[in-house]
Amino acid sequence: MAEERRFRSASGAPIALRRRQHSASCRELAVRGPRLQLRSLSAATSAVWLAAYGLFALSENSVVLSAAIFISLIGLIIYLHFIKIDQESLLVIGSLGIQVTSSYASGKESTTFIEMGRVKDVVINEAIHMQKVIYYLCILLQDPEDPQGVSEVVPLFQSSKPRLDCLIEVYKSCQEILEQRKTAPQSS
């Protein structure tokens, strides 16, 4: 079953949170950011090409025009493939682990899977950035030597930066599954 709700990101852009429950111990939470707008794309391309035309008028060298086309194509490909993140999702499978996926606008997906044995807890941290206080969700990883210590902090939803209300929903969903591993009896 899937449900979708609208929220806002830290900078005010509209984002959508989609929750899917695949089974009693498996949940998927996906935060989708705003898509690439046609008007910003055409504005950037027109600006580059106008500048190229200006240079061409000054220098009478047609290499400037082909270079401008080349640059705008390469720049667009790099932006779509490496920079623009469309959707960030969190797949929590109780007793297996947590999987964090970022999908880029070009379709590329970069995934990290963290085993449940290494996960200590999922918490909401606050950070002070310039004049703002930002809340972010992160996974605390267990230190293998010290049972009480935290070896690493993995921040989630870095590019969509949801606000506290969205983070609380995600936090509650994750904690419900994480609690199962504490209450589950050990294998016989």
């Binding site: 089974s23 797949l91 007793s95 016989s188």
Partner: protein, 573 residues
């Protein structure tokens, strides 16, 4: 705890039978390795599993039953399968059944000794057996046999499948009593080319080892250890590079098989790197020798050296005049300028003396480009060093002079203020000087101070020239290091067979149906290219300067000589 069953996707269409694999009790996971079909004799199955366990050191056992009924569900079959659970006692006994072509299977467990009889949740994870068997998890853990329980869950699963290779050697055409289904059951894969290469590699390795022992014997002979020659060898970067490549060849041609995966990758990387290097070198050589380009190069070498000398002479004439409007001390200027001009004159005479032999030397030296592109680049760097030797000499003269002057000035400045450097205490102390000491000291201080601009200007000019040459040589060495250390085989493997280098796994949730177990697909998450280069980089012999920019500037200011490219094992001057 939730029960996880790792099921190979190749067995999805197998006939009914029993599941064999490994049970990891601390994680409550069952890794299914194969399906044994009916008819079988239980005693033979147990014996076979015992044999496999002895060979692979993996505790393989019967995990449960698998029923693939193409028609309607048969009642008798389910009872038969439950009875099997009593013959092969395994806690818990897993029963997976598939009806017709349905994607949604039902999975149940039989627990005889469980304390709580509630229904356990089951997760069914499909995995590609061949890919998991061939893949290596990074960062590689040093697990000795049997310590797999301490490692993470995923590495235990990868370990299980990788070590059970012998189980996958029997296919359906074998005449044994056990009929298995696994990824290779349609026929064991093999490649004729690989087998031929394996056969040919043994005599090739022996021949290579023999040749290398000859070459290294010659290199180590006493003749080459005499002082001028050994000094020359240590200064030429070509000899370093050749020694490095010789070491690489020794690694490849050793008879011992590579024990760990890291050693195997290193051998393969060295081999591919050598191959590409020699290939590029031969390409370069063929380009150089076609249309006698090397003759043209030799012809232009002398005029270029002459041109450099002329430019230097012009520069010195400029310095001896009024450079940049600064007023120099006439006498010192003339002395230094004439000294350096004489040097250039000597250098040009030597070059002209060598000019008839240059073409022949260059022709033979160019032949050594077939040893590799790196060797050709090192030769280029050495030729540049030899041609700009006079710049190096001028830099050393200028630096020594400037250094002496600076130390003299600092010491006399202390005298001027009535202080002295205490060598014992390593600090500045006050001291009372005699009048004549003060008089001579102040006189010398004034002389040195007013001669400072001249010396400083010469030092500045020659240091800049030397730095230019050093930068050019440095870029060439950077390129050589890049070719030396780039792990090409690993990169090509990451490009073509990305599942072999795994950074982890990723799960994909497949279609679900209520009431059926959760279905996941486990795929291999390949290592990123940056991590591949970092893990499998080949070590090189040069270490980059450890001086920070601040200490470099300090050395330049004080006039200390800078040695930018120190090789490992060389003593600092």
């Amino acid at each position: 705890m939730v029960l996880k069953v790792f099921f190979p996707s190749c067995c999805s269409s197998a006939d009914s039978g029993i599941l064999i694999g490994r049970w990891l009790s601390e994680q409550s996971s069952a890794v299914v390795l194969a399906v044994v079909h009916f008819p079988f004799i239980p005693v033979q199955v147990k014996q076979y599993l015992g044999d496999v366990q002895r060979v692979t050191k993996v505790s393989v056992s019967v995990l449960g039953s698998w029923s693939n009924s193409k028609q309607e569900k048969e009642e008798g079959l389910s009872e038969f399968l439950e009875d099997l659970g009593t013959i092969f006692s395994h806690e818990p006994w897993i029963q997976i059944s598939k009806e017709g072509d349905s994607k949604f299977w039902s999975c149940s467990t039989l627990q005889k000794h469980s304390s709580s009889p509630k229904e356990e949740e089951v997760i069914l994870v499909y995995y590609d057996q061949r890919k998991v068997m061939l893949s290596h998890l990074h960062p590689p853990l040093d697990t000795a046999d049997g310590r797999a329980e301490d490692t993470s869950k995923l590495s235990a699963i990868f370990d299980t499948v990788a070590r059970s290779r012998v189980l996958f050697m029997t296919d359906r055409y074998d005449e044994g009593p056990i009929k298995l289904t696994h990824w290779q059951s349609e026929g064991v894969e093999a490649s004729i080319i690989v087998e031929l290469l394996k056969q040919a590699s043994v005599p090739a390795c022996m021949l290579l080892t023999f040749l290398l022992s000859l070459v290294s014997g010659i290199c180590r002979s006493r003749v080459l250890k005499f002082w001028p020659l050994s000094f020359l060898w240590s200064k030429l970067s070509t000899c370093e590079q050749l020694g490095h490549r010789l070491q690489h060849l020794q690694v490849i041609s050793s008879n011992k098989k590579a024990q760990t995966q890291i050693q195997l990758m290193r051998k393969a990387n060295i081999f591919v790197s050598l191959l590409i290097d020699v290939g590029l070198g031969i390409l370069l050589m063929s380009w150089l020798y076609r249309k006698n380009r090397i003759g043209h190069l030799a012809d232009t070498l002398i005029p270029v050296a002459d041109h450099v000398a002329e430019e230097l002479q012009d520069l010195l004439q400029w310095l001896m005049g009024a450079p940049a409007g600064l007023k120099m001390n006439r006498a010192l200027d003339q002395v230094l300028g004439r000294f350096f001009l004489y040097h250039i004159h000597l250098w040009i005479s030597y070059i002209h003396l060598m000019s008839p032999f240059i073409e022949m030397i260059l022709w033979y030296v160019g032949l050594s480009a077939c040893l590799g592109l790196t060797v050709a680049l090192c030769i280029l760097s050495d030729i540049i060093a030899l041609l700009t030797f006079h710049i190096y000499c001028f830099y050393v003269y200028g630096a020594r002079l400037y250094c002496l002057k600076i130390y003299g000035l600092s010491s006399l400045w202390r005298l001027f203020r009535g202080k002295k450097w205490n060598v014992l205490r390593q600090r500045v102390d006050s001291c009372s000087y005699d009048l004549d000491q003060l008089f001579i000291g102040t006189l010398l201080f004034t002389i040195l101070l007013f001669l400072l601009p001249t010396t400083a200007l010469y030092y500045l000019v020659f240091t800049l020239l030397r730095l230019l040459v050093v930068i050019v040589q440095g870029l060439i060495h950077l390129l050589v290091d890049l070719i030396d250390s780039l792990p090409l085989y690993s990169l090509i493997l990451r490009l073509c067979r990305s599942y072999r280098l795994a950074a982890g796994v990723k799960f994909r949730v497949l279609e679900q149906q209520a009431g059926k177990p959760l279905r996941l697909l486990m795929q291999i998450n390949p290592l990123s290219y940056g991590a591949v280069v970092q893990t499998y980089r080949l070590p090189t012999y040069s270490c980059y300067p450890k001086d920070s920019w601040a200490s470099l500037c300090k050395k330049l200011f004080l006039g200390e000589l800078i040695y930018p490219w120190k090789h490992k094992g060389e003593k600092q001057d």
